[in-house]
Amino acid sequence: MNPRSRSRIRTRCRRRSWGRIVLSASIVLGAALADFGCSGDEEHVVVYTALDRVFSEPIFAEFTRETGIAVRAVYDTESTKTVGLANRIRAERDRPRCDVFWNNEILNTLLLDRDGLFAACEPAPAMEYDEKWRDSEGHWFGFAARARVLIVNTNLVPADQRPDSIEDLTDPRWKGRAGMAKPLFGTTASHVACLFAKLGTGAATKLLERIHENDVRILSGNKACAEEVGAGRLAFALTDTDDAMIELDAGRPVAIVWPDSKPGEMGTPVLPNTLARIRGAPNPEAAVKLISFLLTPKIEAMLARGPSAQIPLHRETAVKPRIPRIDELRPMDIDFEEAAAAFSKGREAVEVLLLD
């Protein structure tokens, strides 16, 4: 065979090989786009949720079953819970993609509201919640709360020596043996914001300094705090009721203490999940339907019965919760708006505690 023919054959083979590669790439991309395109046509609602997929996905599935509206969720990770989602909502403000923001705490909801990112709505079930758990202008709605508690290792700490106040984080007898989550995210940040509002900036900053001087371990999240106590590596830690309940349910030697709950004390912070409709979002009707669905007693009952053991706030939620009901607790009397304002001022003090 002459060299020219060989060269022509080689060129044809090469073209076929590249043709196959390009065809394969096109098929892969086409399938992907088709997969997206098909689901893009059905009625749907986009929710950014801080409640982990394990807990929220069954609820979304129930909503889809009842209404036929598909739920497209975006979840976050444990370590930077909520704030990542909140900042995505901010970044997308000129072209909102999220319809509903389901936050598992309240601080970032209030900060977003201040930035004018929410639209008002009037879901019917919201009227059956106490006024303190919803915004007067209909921008956000609280439901299914968690309390900020101390989880104590019962093998390391005798019953008569258990800490019972947030101040015990500064007690030298617990130096290096207590823990809390990063006070920049999630319910820990909300808790710190409540302290700033309740105690005042000066006293709250002093408290944080004493916590820092007492070598309180700062961990990645509330779950890590609960696990460290459950495993006996910490004597006690500040965490949420759901993370504490998971350790209890797993049979670890722990007990839950409701801090500052005696008469005359400041009370235990109770922090609701919050829902808000995003201003300018593409699916407003579906958003209101989802918010209404989530505020029903049925959903609160699901969250109360589930592993997260959330505290129902709806007047008619009839379920025997695995932890005390809201009317059996001494919740901290707090103005959440004031707490959000106070946190913005106290953030630097919090950063010093985190970075040092």
Binding site: I21, L33, A73, T77, V83, N87, R95
Partner: protein, 463 residues
């Protein structure tokens, strides 16, 4: 501290295993090399989580040597297969004639290796060290589990706190510059082709003595333990009450999303890489371009995600891309395109430039030169580049977390979340399924290459 503890251990393991598996004449070295390559493909967060589990959440070591040092130890072990492959390939490419000369001059085998081979394989050793350093700085999966703050987590934390990229960028800048300066020489070394291919000028007879066979068996066992035991250890967490089909269905979204976005990113990177790689080979501003490749490698994942949000979240076609899983493909391409360039560079470096000039003289446009000269020249490297990028993409978390489109989820994000909630059985099932998705294309490539090698006669070695 993580670097001080982890880097020496990592390099020692990498050089030792790489030399034995890729350059020695021990029986079983091919099996060891195969295990190491498999281990290198396992997503980093999987290996790392498995090692942390083996050490009992790292607490023994954390109590003894501190959290940061435990991070270094976990990184060293989790990345050892990749480091061994990188070192091994570089050492394999060193011509045997240098070693033989040293032996003739009276050196012992060990001395000949240390004096004649190791210095010439320094590119691979440097590459293994640079990749390890990059991982220590830019990963936050291990450090998050072990509660140690790192550079990458700091960047994400600052963005999350302040809602603006400016503080995150400022905080990232010094380390970013340092990493760029570290990685730019890596890009330059890759261009020289000094760490790919193999030396075919001298073949060494396989060792047959009893001690050599024993050493070979130990080598295979070490490679198997290092590469696969951590992953196999996840199997103990799997809850057998749910069958395979149900498990696959439960994770369908994650497996599908991760698989096709990773493959798409790999194919795109491989097809586009030759053009930029050729620019590196030809450009007069080579140093600047190598710095650019180093910078791209050093870019923290969170900043890549932030940049994509700012770039794409606009009305029109950009917004359509942002709302679709294509944004994940872009995130992976941004992060791993430099890897594809480095893998393709050696093929183009060895291609005669006259070929391109002849194509230009014949009237081919730039696109024509790319399609008919550059792509064919790099055709052996392209499938490997595509699959390496795809394997890295399956393990990516930092950038994809920030741009995840609604209704989709990836193996990495879901795995990380399940581990945090202590759902180890679910996490283990997911990770083993994800691993199967990563390894199947590689198995296909290896089979195809061995068939192609049998059909193609051995080419004469070139000096």
């Amino acid at each position: 501290m993580a670097l001080l503890v982890g880097l020496p251990l990592h390099l020692a393991l990498a050089m030792f295993l790489g030399a034995l598996a890729f350059r020695s004449n021990l029986q079983g070295r091919r099996a060891a090399a195969a295990f190491l390559i498999l281990g290198a493909l396992v997503p980093f967060y999987v290996s790392a989580t498995a090692w942390i589990g083996i050490f009992g959440e790292g607490h023994l070591f954390r109590d003894l040597i501190g959290s940061a040092a435990t991070v270094g130890l976990v990184h060293a072990l989790a990345q050892a297969p990749l480091g061994a492959v990188v070192c091994g390939l570089a050492l394999r490419a060193v011509p045997r004639v240098y070693e033989e000369q040293a032996l003739i001059d009276g050196s012992s085998r060990a001395r000949a290796f240390v004096r004649a081979v190791l210095p010439r394989g320094r590119t691979g050793i440097f590459a293994a060290g640079a990749l390890f350093t990059l991982a220590i700085f830019t990963d936050y999966t291990v450090s998050d589990i072990l509660v140690v703050r790192t550079f990458a987590e700091e960047v994400y934390t600052l963005f999350a706190m302040w809602g603006s990229p400016a503080p995150a960028i400022l905080a990232a800048l010094p380390t970013f510059v340092l990493l760029t300066l570290l990685l730019a020489p890596l890009a330059r070394a890759a261009a020289s082709g000094g760490w790919s291919g193999s030396d075919r000028t001298g073949s060494v007879p396989r060792a047959t003595s009893v001690s050599s066979r024993l050493a070979g068996a130990v080598l295979v066992l070490a490679a198997l333990l290092l590469a696969l035991v951590p992953v196999a250890s996840l199997a103990r967490y799997i809850e057998a009450d749910r069958g395979l089909a149900a498990t696959v269905e439960a994770f369908r979204v994650e497996l599908l999303t991760s698989s096709w976005t990773a493959i798409a990113a790999g194919v795109f990177s491989a097809i586009a890489a030759p053009a930029l790689a050729w620019a590196l080979v030809r450009a007069r501003a080579r140093r600047t371009l190598f710095l650019a490749v180093g910078a791209a490698l050093a870019l923290p994942g969170p900043l890549a995600g932030i940049g994509l949000i700012r770039l794409l979240d606009h009305p029109g076609i950009l917004g359509a891309v942002y709302d679709s899983p294509l944004v994940l493909v872009l995130a992976y391409v941004v992060r791993f395109f430099p890897v594809a360039i480095l893998l393709v560079l050696p093929s183009l470096e060895s291609m005669p430039r006259a070929r391109v000039e002849a194509a230009r003289i014949e009237g081919l446009s730039a696109a024509g030169v790319w399609a008919r000269v550059l792509l064919p020249a790099a055709r052996e490297a392209l499938p490997r580049a595509a699959l390496v990028v795809a394997a890295f993409a399956v393990g990516e978390l930092q950038a994809s977390l920030l741009v995840m489109p609604p209704g989709f989820d990836t193996v990495g994000r879901r795995f990380f979340s399940l581990v945090h909630y202590g759902l180890r059985g679910e996490a283990a099932s997911l990770c083993l399924l994800g691993l199967a998705c990563t390894l199947l294309p590689w198995a296909a490539l290896v089979a195809w290459e061995s068939v192609a090698r049998k059909r193609t006669p051995e080419r004469a070695p070139t000096s």
